[in-house]
C-alpha cells in the first residue's frame, strides 16, 4: 500500500515537473518579444541599428526615447498627450453614460425600455469597421473630424453596448431594499445613485473604465481615418508613421522605444487591476 502511494506521489511530482518545464518554455516564448523590444530600446542609437543586431545592449542609455521626442512637431510627448486626452475623455464619458444608462435600464420601468435596450445591445453585432465612412462624413460636416474630442465621442459610442450591459447587471445585483428606504426618506433618484449605489457598483465601473482605456489607447483604424493632421495623431498612428519613415530614415531603436511607451500604460493597468479585467471578460463571454 505505502509503496504504491510513494510511486503515485513520485509520478505526480514528475508530472508536475514536466508541466512546469513546458510552462516555463512557453512563458519565455511569450515574453521574448517584449523583453527584446525593451532591450533594443535602451541600446545606444547606433547599436540599435547594428547589422547584425547584438543580443544584449553593451550600454544602457535612454537616447532612443530622447530621439523620439524630436520627431514631427512636438514629438512623442505631443502624441502621448493626444492619446491621453482621447482615452481620458473616453473613460469619463463611458463611465458617466453607462452608469446612468445601466441604472435606468435596471431599476426603472418606462415605455419602450425593452426596445431601447435591445437596440443598444444589438450594436454589439455590427462591426464598427462597417460604419466608419458615414462617421467620417458626419464628423466632417459638424467640423469634428481631425479633432480629438470627435474621436473620443466615437470611441465612447463603441464602448457603450458593453458598458450598459455590464452596469445594468451590476445594478441588478444590488438588493433593491437598500435604495427603497432612501427613496422613502425622500431622496431623489439621482442622489440615491450618486450617494448610495455608486460605491456598491464600483467593481463594475472599474471594469468598464479599464476596457474603455485599453480600447481607446490602442485603437488604430478609426484614429488613422479621422486624424488627418500630424499634430493630432494618436500614439499608434504616430508610431506607424515612424515605422514607414515619415520622419526620415527608419530608426529601429526609437521605434522600439515608442512601442515601450505605448505598451507600458496598458500593461501596468492590466497587472494592477487584472481581477476586474477578467470579470468583464467572463461577464461578457458567459452571457453572450
Amino acid at each position: 500500500m505505502t509503496s504504491d502511494n510513494i510511486t503515485y506521489r513520485n509520478q505526480q511530482i514528475l508530472k508536475n515537473a514536466a508541466i512546469y518545464a513546458v510552462l516555463i518554455v512557453m512563458a519565455a516564448l511569450f515574453l521574448f518579444p517584449l523583453v527584446w523590444s525593451f532591450l533594443n530600446s535602451v541600446k545606444t542609437p547606433p547599436e540599435a541599428l547594428a547589422v547584425p543586431p547584438t543580443y544584449l545592449p553593451t550600454k544602457i542609455v535612454f537616447d532612443n526615447y530622447v530621439e523620439l521626442t524630436t520627431y514631427g512637431r512636438g514629438g512623442v510627448v505631443r502624441r502621448v498627450a493626444n492619446s491621453t486626452l482621447v482615452s481620458a475623455v473616453t473613460v469619463v464619458g463611458t463611465i458617466a453614460l453607462s452608469t446612468l444608462g445601466g441604472y435606468g435600464f435596471a431599476r426603472f420601468n418606462f415605455k419602450g425600455k425593452t426596445i431601447l435596450f435591445v437596440l443598444v445591445l444589438s450594436t454589439l453585432m455590427i462591426p464598427f469597421q462597417s460604419i466608419l465612412i458615414p462617421l467620417f462624413v458626419m464628423l466632417t460636416a459638424i467640423d469634428l473630424h481631425n479633432n480629438l474630442f470627435g474621436l473620443a465621442l466615437v470611441y465612447i459610442t463603441f464602448q457603450l453596448p458593453f458598458g450598459i450591459f455590464l452596469m445594468r447587471n451590476s445594478f441588478l445585483a444590488v438588493p433593491q431594499e437598500i435604495e427603497e428606504s432612501a427613496l422613502l426618506d425622500g431622496c431623489t433618484s439621482f442622489n440615491v445613485l450618486y450617494k448610495l449605489l455608486l460605491r456598491l457598483v464600483l467593481p463594475g465601473i472599474v471594469t468598464i473604465a479599464i476596457y474603455a482605456f485599453i480600447n481607446s489607447w490602442n485603437e488604430f483604424l478609426a484614429a488613422l481615418i479621422f486624424m488627418t493632421d500630424q499634430d493630432n495623431f494618436t500614439l499608434p498612428i504616430f508610431l506607424s508613421n515612424v515605422s514607414t519613415g515619415l520622419y526620415g530614415q527608419i530608426d529601429w531603436g526609437a521605434l522600439q522605444a515608442g512601442v515601450m511607451v505605448s505598451i507600458i500604460p496598458s500593461v501596468v493597468i492590466f497587472l494592477l487591476l487584472q481581477r476586474y479585467y477578467m470579470n468583464g471578460l467572463m461577464g461578457g463571454a458567459v452571457k453572450s
Binding site: 453607462s98 462591426p127 469597421q129 466615437v154 488613422l224 471578460l281
Partner: protein
C-alpha cells in the same frame, strides 16, 4: 417587479402611486437618454447612412449623385475586391486553427491548480492588452532581415545560412502575420476555454479515471463535449476578428507583396480614404456586414443545435 415591494405599497396607501410611477418612469427615461442619443447618432444613423451612401457616387468633395445599384454591380468586376474576399477567407481559415489549438493547449496547462499558475496565466494573457497595431510594429522589427533578432538567432543556430526577407514572399509574409497574431490574441481564447474547463465538475474526471480512462479518453468523452458551447463561442469570436483584420496587414505587409495581403477592410479603407470613392466603399461595407451577419447567425444556430442534442 414593483407590486411586491414595500415602497409601492407605501405609496399606494398615500394615494400618490400613479403620479409617483409616472415621475419614476420619466426619471428612468432621462437616465437612459444620453446613451440612446449616442448610440442613435454615432451608430444607428451611420449604419443607415452606409446603406444610403452605397447607392450613390459619393466623392470627398462636390455633390453626390444617386446611381442605384451601380456600385454593387461594379463590385462584381472589381478584381481586387474578389481577390480581397478570397484572401480574407483564406486568412480566416489559416489563422483560426493555430489560435484555437495553441489556446487549447495553454488552457489545458494553466487549468491545473498548481503553485504559481497565476503568473503563467498572466504572462500568456499579457499580449492581449497590447494593441494589434503596436504588436505589429514590434514583430516587423523582430523579423526584419537586417536588424531583426529572429534572423540573428536562426543564423546563430545554423537553421538558416543567410538572413531571410520574410516579408518579401507571400507564404513567409503570411507566416509572419500568423505568428504575430497568435502571440497577440491567443490569451483571449485561452481565458474563454479556461473558464469553460473550470466549470466542468472534477468528479467527472475522477470517476473516469477510476474506470481507467487515459488523457485522450477524458479529452474526447468529457472535456470536448462539455466545452462545445465555449468552443463555438471562441471560434465565432476568432472568425469574426479575422474577417475584420486590418492593422496587421496595414503595418506588417502594407498589403504586399504584390497586393497579395489586402484584406476586405483594407480594400474598403483604400477605396474610401485613399481614392475617396466613399459610395463604393459603403457598398463594400454593406457586403462585409451581410457576410458577418450571415456567419454569426449560422454559427449561433449551430451552437444552439449542438447544445440540445
Amino acid at each position: 417587479m414593483a407590486s411586491s415591494t414595500a415602497m409601492t405599497a407605501a405609496r399606494r396607501e398615500t394615494g400618490k402611486s400613479s403620479t409617483w410611477q409616472r415621475q419614476r418612469s420619466r426619471t428612468g427615461f432621462l437616465f437612459v437618454l444620453p446613451t440612446v442619443i449616442f448610440v442613435g447618432v454615432f451608430f444607428i444613423i451611420p449604419l443607415l447612412m452606409t446603406a444610403f451612401m452605397s447607392l450613390h457616387d459619393w466623392p470627398l468633395f462636390g455633390a453626390h449623385e444617386f446611381i442605384g445599384l451601380k456600385n454593387y454591380s461594379d463590385l462584381l468586376s472589381d478584381r481586387q475586391f474578389i481577390k480581397s474576399l478570397d484572401f480574407t477567407a483564406r486568412y480566416t481559415l489559416i489563422i483560426t486553427p493555430p489560435i484555437f489549438i495553441v489556446a487549447f493547449i495553454l488552457a489545458s496547462l494553466v487549468r491545473r491548480n498548481i503553485r504559481g499558475i497565476g503568473i503563467f496565466r498572466t504572462i500568456f494573457f499579457l499580449p492581449v492588452v497590447i494593441g494589434l497595431g503596436i504588436s505589429s510594429l514590434l514583430w516587423v522589427w523582430l523579423l526584419n532581415d537586417q536588424v531583426g533578432i529572429i534572423n540573428k538567432i536562426l543564423l546563430d543556430l545554423g537553421a538558416i545560412t543567410k538572413p531571410q526577407l520574410f516579408l518579401a514572399r507571400p507564404d513567409t509574409a503570411m507566416n509572419v502575420i500568423i505568428i504575430s497574431v497568435v502571440w497577440k490574441t491567443v490569451g483571449f481564447t485561452m481565458v474563454l476555454l479556461l473558464a469553460g474547463m473550470q466549470a466542468i465538475p472534477n468528479e467527472l474526471y475522477e470517476s473516469a479515471e477510476v474506470d481507467g480512462a487515459g488523457y485522450f479518453a477524458k479529452l474526447r468523452f468529457i472535456t470536448l463535449p462539455l466545452l462545445r458551447r465555449t468552443i463555438a463561442l471562441a471560434l465565432v469570436l476568432s472568425v469574426i476578428g479575422s474577417i475584420l483584420a486590418f492593422d496587421q496587414f496595414y503595418i506588417i505587409t502594407g498589403g504586399g507583396p504584390r497586393n497579395s495581403t489586402i484584406s476586405v477592410v483594407y480594400w474598403i479603407f483604400n477605396n474610401s480614404f485613399t481614392y475617396f470613392k466613399m459610395g463604393y466603399g459603403s457598398a463594400m461595407s454593406i457586403v462585409l456586414l451581410a457576410i458577418l451577419v450571415v456567419l454569426s447567425a449560422l454559427q449561433l444556430y449551430l451552437l444552439r443545435d449542438n447544445s440540445d442534442t
